[in-house]
């Protein structure tokens, strides 16, 4: 199965702008674009160098960066949905 070019379609804007962020560590390749793009939300753990979520429901102003991280993630493992 091939994913769409930019992963799943972006979520519609929820009222309070809050979002829920998930990342599938099993398929993360540790490239770190998420940490570079939205450092308040994503981090690499020390042991495996794989993604961890610092803020599962980040404030609205992180939304654009999180969305960009989702689109840039080379393994397509970040998902964003309304909180």
């Amino acid at each position: 199965m091939t994913r769409a070019a930019d992963g799943p379609a972006p979520v519609p804007s929820p009222d309070n702008g809050r979002i829920r962020v998930r990342a599938d560590r099993e398929r993360c390749i540790g490239a770190g674009l998420c940490v570079l793009t939205a450092p308040e939300v994503f981090e690499h753990d020390d042991d495996e160098g794989l993604v961890i979520i610092l803020e599962a429901t980040p404030a609205a102003h992180h939304r654009d960066n999180v969305e960009l991280a989702r689109r840039l993630c080379p393994a397509g493992v970040i998902s964003v949905e309304p909180a």
Partner: protein, 399 residues
């Protein structure tokens, strides 16, 4: 979309201007995001020049990076050598790829790269001190671009820097040879050298990546030969790319004085400028080479099982549907939507380290040597004619 199979231009084509794609690339991508091109051995493969198509294909599990298969396209004669075909990690598919990648990921996280920042700064400052003492002229390739990744990778991987003449020549030999026999010989020497190093680390673990991974050999997760090959891939991937990129970036800034001024004044943050240099220069020219294990339908085209695919980072990075005025160099653009580091499961392991080295190299160079300029006319600069990595033969500068 229809693809004219009769018209498959040659690929790759060398650049004449260091930061501009050859005219033929522009013609190819003006026809659409998926085209056929002809390789040196007359084989026809798909050339992907669209960003969306590149990402979509590189995340498709029907693409294989297995270079030992004859379906895998050989991009230049020397890459047909065994040493270039049997590469761990880059040349592996899941599940073995993921096992190897996971051993290395912790060593290359953003945090790990950032922890190396002070040491990288120190190494770069040392090289500038030497240049200033010997100046007021230098060849930036020899005095700056080659030693930076060589020093960094030798410390990180745990390879004695005193052997740098050997491993620089050997990695360049693998990547830039004109004939398979040369690549074979350079690869064999490098494997033997690193194999001895791995053996030594098995009894006396050093404080580099090799030393930290030997316990996986002792635990039976990987063999000593695999660790040798992993360290070989790290040295090859880490040296050639970064050392080619540093001079290309400098010369691109020289050729755009108003942007250089904005860079030096700090008006544009160094991270932003480096991202644009990465996008614009696409130092590896193509981001990935794969073959297809099963038919794939994309944009009304069917890519057949056994077909070869090459993703052109040079052209994907200039996709008009992603970047406004894509052929314009604009250091304030700051857009990471490029495929210079590839995409999908093989996306560059060393990208955090690469960004950091480039940031440190450019910032320190222009900060510490005011008035730095070319020592020869721009037209006299020559692109290396060997290998597929884009690089300058030399970069004479003065101050």
């Amino acid at each position: 979309m229809s693809v004219d199979l009769e018209d498959a231009p040659s690929f790759p084509v060398p650049r004449t201007v260091p930061y501009q794609p050859p005219e033929s690339y522009r013609q190819i991508s003006s026809r659409g995001p998926l085209n056929k091109v002809t390789l040196w051995d007359k084989r026809r493969v798909w050339l992907v020049t669209g960003y969306a198509q590149g990402r979509r294909l590189l995340s498709d599990p029907k693409l294989s990076a297995d270079r030992t298969r004859q379906e895998y396209p050989t991009m230049a004669p020397h890459l047909g050598a065994q040493a270039a075909r049997k590469l761990v990690l880059v040349g592996e598919d899941p599940p073995i790829h993921d096992i190897h990648r996971r051993l290395l990921n912790p060593e290359f996280s953003l945090k790990k790269a950032r922890a190396l920042a002070p040491r990288i700064q120190e190494l770069v400052d040392g090289l500038i001190d030497d240049m200033l003492a010997a100046g007021p002229t230098a060849d930036l390739v020899q005095s700056y671009a080659l030693p930076i990744p060589s020093l960094v990778m030798s410390e990180l991987v745990g390879v004695p820097y005193e052997d740098h003449k050997f491993f620089q020549a050997a990695t360049a030999g693998v990547m830039q040879a004109r004939e398979p026999a040369e690549t074979e010989a350079a690869g064999a020497q490098l494997a033997q050298y690193l194999g001895t190093l791995v053996e030594r680390n098995l009894t006396e673990p050093g404080d580099g990546v090799i030393g930290r991974l030997v316990h996986y050999v002792q635990a039976g997760t990987i063999t000593a030969a695999e660790l040798t090959q992993l360290s070989m891939v790290l040295m090859i991937a880490g040296l050639e790319t970064t050392s080619s990129m540093i001079p290309l970036g400098v010369v691109t800034l020289f050729a755009h004085p108003e942007q250089l001024a904005a860079f030096i004044s700090g008006e544009v943050p160094v991270q932003t400028a480096v991202e644009e240099l990465l996008r614009y220069l696409a130092v590896t020219d193509f981001a990935a080479v794969r073959w297809v294990t099963d038919d794939i339908e994309i944009d009304d085209v069917v890519i057949r099982a056994g077909d070869g695919i090459v993703v052109s980072s040079t052209m994907v990075n200039r996709d008009e549907s992603v970047h406004a005025d894509p052929h314009v160099f604009d250091i304030s653009r700051g857009n990471r939507q490029h495929l210079t580091f590839g995409y999908g499961i093989h996306q560059c392991l060393g990208q955090n380290l690469a960004r950091l080295q480039l940031e440190t190299a450019y910032r320190t160079l222009f900060a510490r040597i005011p008035g730095l300029r070319l020592a020869v006319p721009f037209e006299d600069l020559r692109m290396r004619s060997s290998g597929t990595m884009q690089g300058l033969e030399s970069l004479p500068v003065t101050w």
